[in-house]
Subunit: 673 residues, 3 copies
């Protein structure tokens, strides 16, 4: 169990992005009153407000912000105070062009849009630090401020000459000598050997984009560069307000930045949840678990979600009635300690003026959305601190790795589309469907708290990971691995002992060849115990056992009869290898068996589309029952007697849930298994 | 009824683009004779001839043009004389690089292709004015010249620094202060506030492309910039030849230029009709009506069409036998006072050498195309001045607006593809199928001459328009509006009273939310009178009546039972709102009822694919009967006795039309209803 | 019959690309031993080794190469020695930026990737010549070296200013005067007339890309520029080692370079065979025949193929067991005198580390691929010199022309996608299915050795070709031509006498119009003799006979009854015109009849998927029986008695072939018909 983000406000925050600087003063009072009406307890202010705070290099205009913070405070609303550094003012780009980002050709962009700064620009660093310092000093004692929100949605890469030079320094620190770099990047290939550090350039289009070691290092360097921007502001602020926690808003499975590194630098993870239209609840749950995982299980803040619809998808359907509430509790069930929105009020202009908001352009409160938000606000108040800091207790971990993701997508062959995120999610969903809690973990995670560790398609195996897996299995754990695992080390250099490289020992196999299957082509997984036969596809490893047992064989093609599922008993545990991408029902059955062996089961037998997830405090288990169906369902909770945190009554046995409905039930820890 | 374009040639011109400068002199006499043979009465010369007229800055070579104009005149053929400014010579681009256009990254293009000049380039303006002046002075008394054709197919944007500076001046004139501009463009969003005019740049890719007010203003500025080029040449010429009318060739529903503004500056609209392969006759008719509409109903010139096939589509099928004649009369029926072609003779080289022409590369006259052109030439001669200046008399107007088109396509959400042109055409086609004449009108049009005004998807409602609609409805008119109407004002700023903004009063509704439907998703329009049920899709407004009656409700989804068709009685008229995009049969029925109420009906009951359109002179009605089918049809013209302008005989009752055939029938105005 | 490539090694070479500079010295001995084990007889070294040989402008490090060549020699392995000029070292790009290639906007690329040099760069020419000279001098007497391999896979275009200037010189030499150039390029169109040579630029994007004559000339110029690079190195080497043959590796139907020109400059053609996943054996055979054809029938070297899978397709399936052997013999059957691979050993890094190789990353020899390679090595040894220098004797020639390909794809209209390669292959496959040997020939080829010459879609007809065809037909040959033939001359200027231009006389037809058919649209070919009816599509010429007989007519549409297949008797032969793109069965029947008339038949009646191809030595016929099916087949070889070159026994009558199996059978020339 964790402490609240801010001890002074130990409840589920209900808030949203608020940009009063876009509106005349007369709107502000209207905002405050309607926020109260909607049960809003926090407002995120200052995001993208740079030019409104600093309209010229030597001019500062904090007065409007003073007034806003005071107004919020007077109305009992807390403030999440953002630094404005996600979009520099035009005057800065004009006076100091080095602040502008360069595109992947190395061409400096012109001013505009957002997140358009070079993360290594000395002037950007100087100005962003300065405005952060001024904000911290001015508001360090303001009673409304409960959290710092540094910048906004860091992301994407710069390829300018400043970055090129900084990259070279980063590489010198990493590799020491050009000889070592040339070796790790395998540069004699195509005569790419560097004979001077100055020859190394960012992977600009039409320049060197085919040296995989360089590419994955540039990703790491860009993560570090942007993280440096964050740290620069954070350290400045922390020195002034050591007691106010600091975050920045992440974006889930966002490929350009390695959030595992970021989480270590944040007091609390917060993130903006904008599912794609086709995402299922399980896929959204995966993202929440990922955001909980990057900080080793600590609860996170749901910083942004739309109250009604997004605007930047091709088709932006409205959230159906009840879905805002359902998905808000889905977040809470998976570790969120807040429910917040982008945005409080739709701007009259700007490219997000048609994005969903609590208040529409008409500013009316007699709307479906306002009603749903207000109802949710009331419920959150009712929940009080009951789930704050509560943990999700998982015995299964799934390994996810940003470096691996980049390296995979960069690898040329055997198939272009590696589907890493899709395949990790596929394994996750097999467990989600069984209502088994899962932690998303990382190559540097401690494995000892898990009984089952799954590492799908771990193409890149970093130093020390194999040893850790061996110890984990030795101690009784089950390790599950899949095809296309263990090809390269962390600089994308292929292992010399073949695949799965350093995992060969624990897996007891050798992969001789890798076949690629066309879209409409499948093979079969034929269980040797006479059980079911499943289809598989995408890629197929042709492997030989070197100690492992064969649990299933390919059913067709020239490699019929070769192993497709192996199990290597190793110490007290076992390591499994699934040599091709199986259909979902295989994973249902495979994990069903494996979970049984570890005696990990859900206690409920639920109809499709109903999820039960739990969070644990020191003395209670909070059980979230989520009906993701658009129809009513009746479920059987069994004999345990729960207390309904929203309704107040006691609940057990058969429970009826209307479409999209949620029940939040508490038991004392003794009562839960 | 209008005067002929040129009083000296009061008949349907039959001509085409003619580029003798590409050919040796010996071809010219062959051309003249074959033109006579084909009944060609005008030739458009000088288009793209700049380097042939001015091979160096101080060298002019008009002699060949002298000879051509004399030759045409000697053979009784008139000349439409073009200024050559649509493609500058290479020497000019080399000596004065500012004449070159810049791409949307602001990079100056290199010389080549066509329409490759910067419209704000001082040197381009100087040279284009100079060559226009020289042409006007040299040929001001030439008896062949009947019309000036300024440049060719103006279009598309330049993003250079010259334009950037001119844009800033344009903005200063429009907004006066940066404060006003910042307000109208809602720039505090994402810290986009301008603190100096110099910070404003064209919407270059990778610069500021997300400020919608800027984008729509840049479109307006580019329309104005190019129109200035036109005016520059036009005024120079008019001062020299005040009696020769002046035009430039437009391109129908061409998005980059607001032709409503252009038409006001042209003595006669002319346009180049190149339908897309899948365009139906009704869609082509829409374009003709649009080109008649931009100049408030004045007949136009069909400046270009292909006699056989285009070359720049993915697949360029031949016009089937008879279709050239049919589509030529389709143009005339909808307001054209000419039938002209691109091109007289296929060039031996150049990227249009495979475009259709009257003369193919072999130069033979024993071809299908030459025969069809010649037959048409003979008929046009027979028609004489019978339709010249005749009007199309419509009681229904459909509003089209270029600014709205740009703003719509720029809007982010609720769906990416707004389908404005498609949806306007869909409403048009419902009336076209009933043979009801329609005027395409604009927000600045006089509505008082119509009984029904339809404004599909008028996202942007400009100042004064709502008041005009109110007066129109008050006076008994029917106003029809659709979903996604009335969101923003003319600088793309959302209305503060919600949607449909200033049209709320006359429509008697409030739109609370907008749902977006996936491609394969539909809802239903359930008529409350127990009538039919229709499907609808794309978007769905969730609205509340505020005075209006509900004529139909949604049939499914969470907004089942909410209004989808409303009628607000207002003064002597009514305003309708169709809240989603309906299937075509709904529009057939809806407009059928509405037309009945206004007693607007076609007098004929025609089989599918047969069109009857009419033009009105002071004393006659010319009735065009067009069989768009590839099969014969028999129609019943009723008891009215028509005189056949081509056959000469009298016609009434049953008439047989072979595939693609046309009958052109005259009645005195008394005889027509 | 031809001499061996190198008289000293008169057998089928078995080898592959070998890059020891990527590996530590200890790997080298392992390589040599495993090469011996796999029956490898040659290794291609030095490709892309520039920086390893010349790490700085004045530093040379040949020692490792000395050691490698000695090591190969000691193990009885020959060396194909490459010059390293396909990728310059980074130090060269940094010090002499003119060596870098420019993209199609004329922007200089940055250093990286490969084939990234400007072919007209003086510094590139100087350095590449210098390293070639040093290699030749150092290794001129090395006993391992059997062939020079200049650079690697020349290709694609540069658009820099150096090239622009060289292009102008090239044009001056070709056209003499600007007047002539302006005429041939038809520049008065769109005012493109050049008034100074300096105005001519490469066809850069956003510059002049629509002057077809310029475009096809730039292609020719780029072919010549790169060929100059090759000649530069070749001549340097040849002066030092006059007795070692010289090649460079081509890439089959590679559009950017006219290999017909290249072949004339090469002692032996070599090429890299990487079929697309969907390519059938017949399509691969076409490429081999093309590579044999560019050098008028001389056997070629199969320089590269993958032993297992490619890596750069979207999906890279493994070659099924037996397919490596089958496709290797397919190459030999069509004229290859070698079987070689890319690559010997997978690199640990670099973008081709997942490309197939003889040795996988594990370096193990107990793999399927190593076994298949070794088995093949043993067989090749058994075959000895039996097929070396043997010819393919064809009586049918199919015309292919790179200039025509470029001009076709550049032509705008009647359809965008001209499908030249696809249509040429379609005609080829009709003969391939009948096991009739075909030569791929060119407009400059001698036609006299053929009885049937097929020239599909010869849009561009070069000077002299029509006369040659007339003489060929006069002498009894059959000439087959198709729609869209004879439109333009070699500068892309349309013929003035209509289509098919200079071929009108021999074909006896005039094409009046060209229709374009939509994807799902077809017409019919109705044989006038009452035979079958076939479908046709894509394009349809509407033609009139002028002497020719009509063999078939269109079956539908407005041109029903017009000729679609004509035959013009001309002297002792006949010329055929197929006016639309027919379905394959038409070509089966049409060529069936035509071959019968010429008494050209295959002697075997084979099941589908079984190919028999033959090569001829002075005294023997080598018959390759290839079962392309994944199932076994039994075929009947008839009464001829063959001797099996691999098995040793005599073979006749029924022969059983397992899946993918090959039989190589010899008969004395008397025995073969």
């Amino acid at each position: 169990m964790y402490a609240p983000v801010n001890e002074k406000v130990p409840f589920l925050w209900h808030g949203g992005d608020y940009n009063p600087e876009q509106w005349p003063r007369e709107t502000w009072q209207d905002d405050f009153k309607k926020m109260q009406q909607a049960g809003i307890t926090s407002a995120t202010v200052g995001v993208f407000s740079w030019v409104s705070l600093q309209p010229a290099e030597d001019t500062f205009t904090f007065e409007w912000l003073d007034e806003i913070l005071d107004g919020l405070h007077e109305h009992g609303i807390k403030a999440i105070l953002a630094t404005p550094s996600a979009a520099q003012p035009a005057w800065m780009s004009a006076a100091y062009p080095d602040v502008l980002r360069s595109d992947d050709h190395g061409h400096r962009k012109q001013h505009g849009q957002r997140v358009n700064y070079c993360p290594n620009s000395p002037n950007y660093r100087r100005f962003s630090q300065d405005i952060a310092r001024r904000l911290a000093e001015r508001y360090k004692d303001h009673p409304a401020v409960i959290l710092w929100h540094i910048s906004n949605e860091y992301g994407d890469f710069c390829y300018c000459d400043t970055c090129a030079e900084a990259f070279r320094e980063w590489l010198k620190a990493k590799y020491g000598t050009l000889e070592e770099l040339n070796h790790r990047w395998w540069t004699p290939f195509w005569s790419h050997t560097y004979t001077d550090w100055s020859q190394i350039m960012p992977p600009r289009a039409q320049a060197e984009v085919l040296t995989h070691g360089l590419n994955v290092d540039y990703f790491r360097f860009m993560t570090d560069s942007q993280l440096d921007c964050y740290r620069h502001e954070r350290d400045t602020i922390r020195a002034i307000t050591p007691d106010i926690p600091i975050t920045t808003n992440l974006m889930g499975a966002f490929k350009p930045l390695d959030y595992r590194k970021w989480a270590k630098e944040m007091d609390v993870v917060s993130w903006d949840c904008y599912p794609r239209p086709a995402d299922s609840p399980g896929q959204i749950a995966f993202l929440h678990d990922l955001m909980r995982g990057v900080k080793d299980g600590q609860p996170f803040l749901l910083m942004e979600q739309t109250p009604s619809s997004q605007n930047w998808q091709a088709i932006n359907a409205l959230k159906r009635p009840g879905v805002l509430r359902l998905w808000s509790y889905l977040a809470v069930a998976h570790g969120a300690d807040s429910v917040m929105y982008f945005q409080w009020r739709r701007g009259r202009g700007g490219c997000e003026k048609l994005h969903g908001a609590v208040l529409e352009h008409a500013g009316r409160t007699d709307t479906r959305v306002f009603r749903e938000v207000s109802q949710l606000g009331a419920e959150l108040q009712q929940l009080g601190d009951s789930v704050i800091g509560a943990t999700v207790d998982a015995r299964v971990g799934i390994v996810f790795d940003w470096d691996n993701w980049h390296a995979l997508d960069d690898a040329i062959g055997p198939v272009r589309d590696k589907r890493y995120r899709e395949i990790v999610t596929k394994h996750y969903l097999a467990l989600y469907r069984k209502n088994i809690p899962v932690d998303i973990i990382f190559p540097d995670s401690d494995l000892s708290q898990y009984e089952i560790v799954i590492a799908p398609m771990l193409y890149m195996v970093k130093e020390g990971f194999a040893e850790k897996v061996e110890a984990f299995v030795q101690g009784g754990g089950s390790f599950v691995s899949t095809n296309f695992t263990g090809l390269v080390d962390e600089t994308d250099l292929a292992f010399e002992n073949g695949y799965p490289g350093p995992l060969s020992n624990v897996l007891g196999i050798w992969v001789e060849e890798i076949d690629a299957l066309y879209e409409d082509q499948t093979n079969q997984i034929v269980m040797k115990d006479g059980g079911a036969t499943y289809t598989c596809g995408h890629m197929a490893d042709l492997l030989h056992t070197e100690g492992a047992d064969v649990l299933a064989e390919y059913g067709t093609d020239f490699y019929v009869g070769m192993p497709v599922l192996t199990k290597n008993s190793f110490g007290d545990g076992a390591a499994y290898y699934i040599a091709s991408d199986p259909e979902a029902s295989f994973l249902d059955d495979f994990y069903g068996t494996l979970l049984n062996e570890h005696d990990i089961q859900s206690e409920w037998d639920l109809p499709e589309g109903v999820e039960i997830s739990q969070r644990h405090t020191d003395d209670q288990v909070i059980t979230f029952v989520l009906n993701h169906n658009s129809e009513s369902v009746t479920i059987d909770l069994g004999q345990t007697i729960y207390s309904d945190l929203l309704g107040g009554e006691e609940v057990s046995g058969e429970v009826h849930l209307p479409p999209y409905d949620v029940r939040i039930l508490a038991t004392t820890r003794a009562a839960s298994s």
